[in-house]
Symmetry: D2
Subunit: 184 residues, 4 copies
């Protein structure tokens, strides 16, 4: 999962958003609902030609690749959470084509205990609805990301890139490529 900030830091936190203490507590008690988006560029026939991966530097100073990912808020629709997180990570003019159907291509279950599923998040039990989202506009990395790299499906599934992804997101990316018929 991304380590990006998920709520504003100021006192102007909207109603329904949890305080840092509250979300920390909830994370020990309930599965937390997430969305994962795999941003892609497609050609006129809808065929995926490129996948977008965020590049971040972790607190330990390690380079890490990530998908767009984040929590669904109280009283927020899944499709609105998808749109919000994509705009948060790729900027306001990415023009994401949010899927018409709420059916995700898979559900990624990030467990705090490694090995229960192929996904792992030490902070929490997160259950993430995963979608492939074509973006038509101009994308720029936001906040803590230092780059947004566009790669072919083959490049994104290569071992070197997979090693730079954490918590099972490399697998989730390959599942997405399988879903769109572009798994190498």
């Amino acid at each position: 999962m991304t380590a990006s900030a998920e709520f504003p830091r100021g006192p102007e936190r909207p109603a329904g958003w949890l305080s840092p203490d509250e979300i920390t507590h909830a994370r020990t008690q309930l599965p937390i609902l997430y969305v994962d988006a795999i941003p892609v560029r497609v050609d006129d026939s809808g065929d995926v030609v490129q996948v977008g991966l965020l590049l971040r530097v972790t607190q330990e100073g390690v380079m890490s690749r990530a998908l767009v990912s984040g929590r669904v808020m109280y009283h927020e629709r899944v499709r609105d959470a998808l749109l919000r997180h994509i705009e948060k990570d790729l900027g306001p003019v990415a023009l994401p084509q949010i899927p018409a159907s709420p059916q995700p291509f898979t559900v990624a279950e990030y467990f705090p205990t490694p090995g229960v599923t192929p996904y792992h998040d030490p902070r929490q039990h997160a259950v993430s609805l995963a979608y492939v989202v074509p973006v038509l506009g101009d994308c720029r990395p936001q906040q803590d990301a230092i780059d947004l790299a566009w790669m072919t499906p083959e490049e994104a599934c290569a071992q070197q890139i997979q090693f730079e992804m954490n918590g099972g997101q490399g697998l989730l990316l390959r599942q997405a490529m399988g879903h769109v018929g572009r798994l190498p």
Copy 2:
């Protein structure tokens, strides 16, 4: 959503399960992850021939039809939650064929505010992964259900039965029938 008990009442509550106070509080702050199962009987070719609906009497004394539905617990996989709720509602020898894929046929978003989505749950914002689950064994209504009725897809989608379903579950049932190619 079902009003059935979701956690044991005694002091022997397993670790990771919330107290009634805690779940009540969480329900005002976070989307709560659910599963909905549409139990079906299929023929040898997998074609749905019957749908199982639970009959309950609400606290107000009104007859109500319901799908199998319930919360996903902390540190519980979605497929284990599906199995647990089906056994809780249909008994221990229902022999449910839990889907091999975690991809739900839809995601039902029950909002505490009516009208945001077609699904409504006054108690909470619940996001439910919905699956069609063939059952091969003997099914008996458990706990607070007074009957389990098997109907054809046509009967289950008829107006009279739809009126007896609450919170958008009638719609969810019809979506399931659309998914299996049996929407009348």
Copy 3:
């Protein structure tokens, strides 16, 4: 299925396309592969707000509503067939967003014998991969269609419109609306 022309009439028929005699013969011997597209308008969150239906007059002079539908050619990819039929029916600047994944929301099996499935095509056994396709551009009815009407999901699923659709396409439209969470 649409009654629209599926191949050019002149002598310049591309290699791999069948002559009218050949396709007539094949239709009595093999299931013929089709695509069905449900053209939709979506809002920024991807929610379907309108469905596009073609209006045609049948040879018997009856008004009829139809989805975009047509045959997949020899050596043509499914996604290219989708694009070709949408441009054929909605014009060259419809800007259809062909799905990244080849997974259809359903498979409609049109049988020459009524009653085997809910879909019927007296000419042939056609098996159609069905997709919901958002269109971003300007759509104009082409060829034999006299209008392209945009309706809300509620309007498109209303009994009067359903009566004007043939061969089970009304059902297919409602299945599509179930898939995108907009079945009334």
Copy 4:
């Protein structure tokens, strides 16, 4: 695609089945509709624990692994074709759980020209609806298969086994494992 016989050899060929000459001719003119089944063993929670692969010796004497695969006949439903081919390849008591929904997890487009898609069939343009099918009963290789091997998803996706699969079926198997959450 499998090289197994797809129609009876005797004069008693059922109505609607093509003669060898006719199918040979049709294969040069039309996409031919197929089904691919990935037979799996699942645990009580529906989690895939094993995948079944057929072992055949090709006409050139090379060992080859294959999925269950075959043509959909004229006037045959997709679900009946799935059942027929599974019984043909795994025997009459395999007890396959044919999916309730006709939605395939993907569509594999086998082109006669290599490289158009990742799937290839030198004989024809075949478009195959692919399904994961749990089998509950006793499976025995039939006809020309010399073995049916059950492997874990990890074993089936290993390079050695993938090398023994032809026409892109190794990829299709890995896509299936991605779909059920078991891609290594």
